[in-house]
Amino acid sequence: MTQQDQLMTFDDAAAMGLSRDEWELILKRLDRTPNQCELGIFSAMWSEHCSYKSSKKWLKTLPVDGPQVIEGPGENAGAVDIGDGLAAIFKIESHNHPSFIEPYQGAATGVGGILRDVFTMGARPVALLNALRFGAADHEKTRHLLSGVVAGIGGYGNCIGIPTVGGEVNFDKSYNGNILVNAMAVGLANSDRIFRSAATGPGNPVIYVGAKTGRDGIHGATMASTEFSDETESKRPTVQVGDPFTGKLLMEACLELMASDSVLSIQDMGAAGLTSSSVEMASKGGLGMEIDLDLVPAREDGMTAYELMLSESQERMLMVLKPDATETARAIFDKWDLDFMPIGQVTETGRLVLLKDRGTACDIPLAPLVDDAPEYDRPQNPVPDRPQLASGDVTTDDPITAVLQAMFAHVDLASRRWVYEQYDSDVMADTIAGPGGDAALVRVHGSQRGLAITTDCTPRYVEADPQTGGAQAVAEAYRNICAIGARPLAITNNLNFGNPEKPEIMAQLAQSVVGMGKAALHLNTPVVSGNVSLYNETDGVAIRPCPVVGMVGVIDDVTEAVGNQFVAADQDIFILGQDNSTDDGWLGESLYAAHHGVTAIYAPPPVDLDAEKRTGDLLRQLIAEKLVTAAHDISDGGLGVAVAEMSLHTSFGAHITLPASGNMHGWAFGEDQARYVVTTPDAESLIAAAKSAAIPIARIGIVTAQAELQFGDHDTISVKTLRSLSEGCLPALMAG
């Protein structure tokens, strides 16, 4: 009896991560016992990673429509209209577990996978970003993981020649045993030349292209759907190996083929490899598929049907071609020295039939794989009410500049140059603003138009109050796009949480999605793509929840964008979104509180979506009218940090006037939302514009020609001192 004939038992199903109920359902739907290959396909398709079984109920509540939306969730990536007949196509995806086990390859294949999702749609990728979370800076594994992940991201992105233009890197001990590596890619396509995955036309050829299939990454999707334990590192062989050179060839070959009008549908072989690509293509088309596995280009001899179907070897695609296009397509792939192999055909049967060694290795109906995929309404614990932190309970009498010195020297806020200089941020020569700005700005090649892109999340807010935290992630991304003068369009999200079978984790997931949905609806930035990464736990301890928002906006003329650095002395500095009647500033869940020994959980700053919308709208108008010359959103570290950051890479300083009363540290370091620091050459007109829009505004100081920050009459520090502290932090950490 061969392996493919051997019938499976519940123990085999359990080893593949299926529950007793799920096993029973498979038996019922098949009306017989599955073999190894068939069970492997069910297990992969019903894994959390592929089926979204714990999150689907909540994801369905997100707003996904809008006049700008061309393609919402469900395809390889989302697509939005940016004008001129062009679409921005983008998605973010996690590669958390593989990156912890093997940081270089895990991160590199994360980048490769998200790029394939974008060029599969017919888009040429133009920008990469990544949202990274590492453990505490002094944790024994952090330096190894940070250096490996950064090298892996650079190794793939630099080689394939797509600029890495932004992202975030943060450190927190909750990620000691489970880092987060989320990669986002953005591409451009003609709106009427977008490719989708639904198979069409029974009898049409199914073609395998790209790299050969090996035994790497088998059951990676299932691994990504379980908790970590001490033994996880023994799963190293299930981490895929990336080859950015083949990725580059595959990208060029696919884009060349797509321009030739040969492709009917196409799907990347990502998680669960040939399984998910064949099942999704056939089921979306309401059809069936027959594949001869003996024809699949294999890297190793003797691979079983199960191994071929579950391998996550990288740089592979499955496509359905027009019947007469095979030779055109073959010539293109020959030119790029890539495998090109017709391996089967579209059928009308509604079944997935796999042939191997002159026998049938698999013959299962497609409907149950997709339609009967479990969907759970998992129980949630109520989120506790959090008290408000009184500023006076935590603030000190230290000079503001002393606090700034400590903050800029801290890994939470220090310069990320050590990271981003390892990424080629300039290739393609269209990067207008790379890493370090509020949002990255990439020109649409050959035009004046620009794409603004950012990723954001503040896990400590989400942990304290998931709904507010979910909304805040969208609001902060919105501010970052507005701060350069661009119009926010849509978002992609990467929901990173612990084990959803625990009610307190499920509450984090569900409630933050609710908050994210409210904000996305109010700010008119629908969710067009995304990814869910659950079971981010090690030995039973969950990460701080991290629902990352990636947002894309557009600006019609990149020369009208502003940066977040002072541009001229004697310009007035204002807070847009706050007036002079300050209260004590919101220090609950602030970086200031964290750096001053507060460990109890307090309420995070409230999010007023109406204020966010109106203030963002006004700021974009002010930038377009050239009344604002630099803008920076106020987030981590509050007003003081924002002002200091605006001077950090300039030859200018600032003289800031302190408020007449109130808690000075609350004012300087509170993280109240919906605010920006802006500079203007024309204070009167700026004040008038804000008044007429009914947006609060307060003058707080002036840009000075001397590179020194002065708060009030006596408290000063040189910008160079802050810059040295900021620039010195990560290099010192990494030098050990």
């Binding site: 630099n158 050179f245 080629d424 300039d426 290739v427 393609m428």
Partner: protein, 237 residues
């Protein structure tokens, strides 16, 4: 910056699997000359007559084996070597510089950066007191140029005797100099701060920085346009 006198210049850019700055260079040259350069696939064994061949940046053949090693042995590079042997001009940028050293058209090697990390940043170059060359003829000695680098293997190395010879012959075209007192000038540990070198006849230049990324007011510098347009003008005069 377009100069009508340049509209008749013939430029070819080689393309290897894994090249990724070929388009950027094509756009830059077209912007300066109003004439689109020819992109020549690596499998071509001959070149039409041209005034300049550019070997662009990227990761030809994935940088497998050694950076530039496989590209250096491709059919098109034999044609490029023939072109250079006839006195033709060749510019190699970044990976293109590595390819030129692999073919022996330029001496020395580009080793891994001293910091063992990829480095993408702006650098300042100083134009050296070099021999007669179209690539430096339009620049004044000591003229500084701000042009970005992005590489993992830009650490120029040759033995002392070769370095002395390069210096004595005026074959050093550009060196890294400081533009920011808070940062090291040399991004990769290159011997004698070498950023670009010339062949003995001055007609072949390899350089690590990317002039094609500094050609627009939207870039952080337009000094790359200065370098490229002065070179093209010199080639046409």
């Amino acid at each position: 910056m377009t100069l009508s006198s340049l509209a008749s210049i013939r430029v070819a850019i080689t393309v290897f699997p894994g090249s990724n700055c070929d388009r950027d260079m094509m756009v830059a040259i077209e912007q300066l000359t109003n004439r689109r350069p020819a992109l020549v696939w690596h499998k071509e064994a001959s070149l039409d007559p041209v005034d300049l061949v550019i070997v662009p940046g990227g990761f030809s053949f994935g940088d497998y084996l050694r950076c530039g090693a496989l590209a250096g042995r491709s059919p098109i590079m034999h044609a490029v070597m023939d072109h250079a042997a006839r006195g033709g001009a060749v510019l190699g940028v970044c990976n293109g510089f590595q390819v030129l050293t692999e073919t022996g058209m330029l001496p020395g090697v580009l080793m891994r950066n001293a910091g063992l990390r990829f480095s993408c940043r702006m650098v300042r170059l100083e134009t050296c007191d070099s021999m007669q060359s179209p690539f430096t003829a339009g620049l004044s000695v000591g003229q500084s140029l701000d042009i970005p680098v992005a590489h993992n293997e830009g650490n120029y190395f040759a033995d002392e005797e070769t370095l002395d010879r390069l210096q004595d012959n005026g074959q050093i075209a550009f060196r890294y100099i400081s533009h920011d007192a808070e940062r090291p000038a040399n991004p990769n540990g290159a011997a004698r701060d070498i950023a670009g070198i010339l062949s003995p006849n001055g007609r072949v230049m390899g350089m690590m920085p990317h002039p094609e990324r500094a050609v627009s007011p939207l870039h952080n510098s337009t000094d790359g346009a200065t370098l490229l347009s002065k070179s093209l003008e010199a080639l046409m005069s």
